[in-house]
């Protein structure tokens, strides 16, 4: 048996949802970022999987998109973590429940 596309998709969906879980239910801001990174990685798995199982794999579009996506994730992580540090400096906390200055 070789892994099929469906298996990969389900795996990546699982990864995505674990990321979502981290982003949704943890209070620490860094967990949210971890979650987001996981979700992005899950999406990347999808891209590469779709490329591998596409009828025209000579065109490495999925791979390229994954590469770009990784680069963007790096940028996201850098800025996100910088934000966390800035927020921590300002509020002395990274508990997102306490960061509700924008409430209506």
């Amino acid at each position: 048996m070789t892994p099929t596309l469906t298996i990969f998709l389900i795996l990546s969906a699982a990864l995505f949802c674990i990321g979502l879980l981290a982003a949704l239910s943890r209070r620490h801001a860094i967990f949210i970022l971890i979650g987001i990174d996981l979700m992005l990685a899950a999406a990347n798995v999808n891209f590469v999987a779709f490329w591998r199982f596409s009828p025209e794999p000579a065109q490495p579009t999925g791979v390229i998109v994954a590469i770009f996506s990784i680069a963007i994730a790096a940028a996201e992580a850098a800025v996100g973590l910088a934000l966390v540090i800035a927020v921590y400096r300002h509020y002395r906390t990274t508990n997102v429940d306490k960061l509700n200055q924008l409430k209506g």
């Binding site: 982003a23 949704l24 239910s25 949210i32 997102v96 509700n100 200055q101 924008l102 409430k103 209506g104």
Partner: protein, 657 residues
Amino acid sequence: MSSWIVTYLWLIPAVPLAASLVILMLANSRRTASAALAIFGQVVALTMAVAAFLPTLQTPGYRAFHNFTWFTFGEQTLRIGWVIDPLAAAMLVMITLVGLCIFVFSIGYMAKDKNFTRFFAYLSFFSAAMLGVVIANSLLLLFVCWELVGLASYLLIGFWIHKPSAAAAAKKAFITTRIGDIGFFLGILWLYGRSGTLLFYDHGNGCLENAGLLLVGASATFIALLIFCGAAGKSGQFPLHVWLPDAMEGPTPVSALIHAATMVAAGVFLVARVYPLFSLGAIDGVTPSLTVVVWIGVVTALMAALIALAQADIKRILAYSTVSQLGLMMVSLGVGGVAAGIMHLLAHGFFKALLFLGSGSVIHGCHEEQDIRNMGGLRRLMPVTFLTYAIGMMTLSGVPLFFSGAWTKEEILHATAHWPKSSVPYYLMLAGVVLTALYMTRQMIYVFFGDKRAASEHAHESPRVMTMPLIVLAVCAIVFSIALTPAWPWLHGYLSGEPAHFEIGQLIQPMLFLSLALVAGGIGLGVLFYRKAGATDPLAQAQPAIFRFLENKMWLDEFYARTVLAFAHFAARFSDVMDRYFWDSLVRALAGVGQLFGILSSHFDERGINSGVDGATTGARGLGRFIAARHSGQIQTYLRAAGVGALALLILYAWLA
């Protein structure tokens, strides 16, 4: 045939100009260097002038020019150039020679001035501009240099700028001459429009040559008269002479250079230069324009001589004398004696410079005193000055035989006598000769003879550097007459392009006796009249009303102030008031109307449109508050909502699919 010098003629003004620029850049303390530079420039100019003079001797009526394009506009070109002919050559030599003397004199005269370097820069600049006027072969180039001469004279007259009177005099000089220049400028425009060129000589196409003159045609009279306006302004002809006596506020060398030898002569030179325009269409040597020149000259000559009689300032007397002599030259030109006029101009350059420098020496010796009533008895104290001054005085008065002025004056009288239109100028000129002798005698007696007065107590002879130029000029004034006598009218021939022959028999002319008699009369009258003169003038005692009239320069300045100036001031004020109030209020009224509309419109907005909109706003605000309350500010809440939303969408999709 043209000599190399023609191509390099521009160097004559360029060298003093360069000297001037260099001096301007020197520090104020580099006095020796600046004087040396200026004099060096002048010497070079003199050498070149002589070099330029030499070829003109070879052929009678020699004329060489060099033209070039100054700039191209559109498809047209504007050409200028320079010319050397006897007129220019003679002027060049005279100007550079006299100028050199004055430069040297200035070293002594200005020795204590703290702006010594600047003075020499200005002098050099002036010299350059003047030489430019002389060599110009284009009315435009001449005008350019002409204006620069004006600027130089402005700077020099106002040299002692801390004196308000000097500044005022400088301004007056510039503006008065500028009035004349406006006419000149229009004349240039007109001429340019007519002939299509401003070059004097251009291989037959110049505006003074046949082809050009043909194009000018009938408008020549007006053009000539307009150009004469400029000449009148520069040469101090009535009614624009008022600036010249005031210009004596400048340092004395300036007076000598500008207001005796060179600048004021520029007007005469200009008329001589464009003489073909004046004489175009002459019948029997008379044209309307020349007639105007004659009458203006006559009025000027006589009026100035009269005013000179009543002046107390040593330099002002000389200034009015200059005005008078310039009038004389103008008359000479007007009656057709161009050569005579120029000869007198040259001679006048020497002796009037001599007189001015002499007066400068006197003023210097008397510690900056200028009022002749405070001098006296300087004969002993300043022998060299006295002697040279006497030579100058006799030359000016026209004492015959030995002094150059006599010969030229005689020739002018001669020419005037033959004017076909009227003989009145001739007689008035004779009167002028007498008056000249009279006021010069008055001045001599006041300054050098009689008892010592307040200012001459501590007088002293001037240093060598000042007396040497005096001597040189005096020698020139005498020696120059060799070229002027009727026996060997070399200069006359040279200027008018005819060869001169030596005939000793021509030496004594009937006019000589007449002139001798007139001069003797004048001097005699003067001696008689002023021999015992005291603090008050004899004329003032005899005829106080006339004296006051003359002393106040015939109230011309006051007259101008009341009429022309007053009108101009009024016009200025009026323009300003119109601007500030009339036009402005017009605009503001318009703006007011606009504002009114604005107010009306805003009221309409307020009452009509806004009330409807307000209701809508209130509703929107309430809704906004409600929604805002749902926003907890907690990011995860939003994220969860998004997740649920996505799920809902998915379910919706599944349901629909």
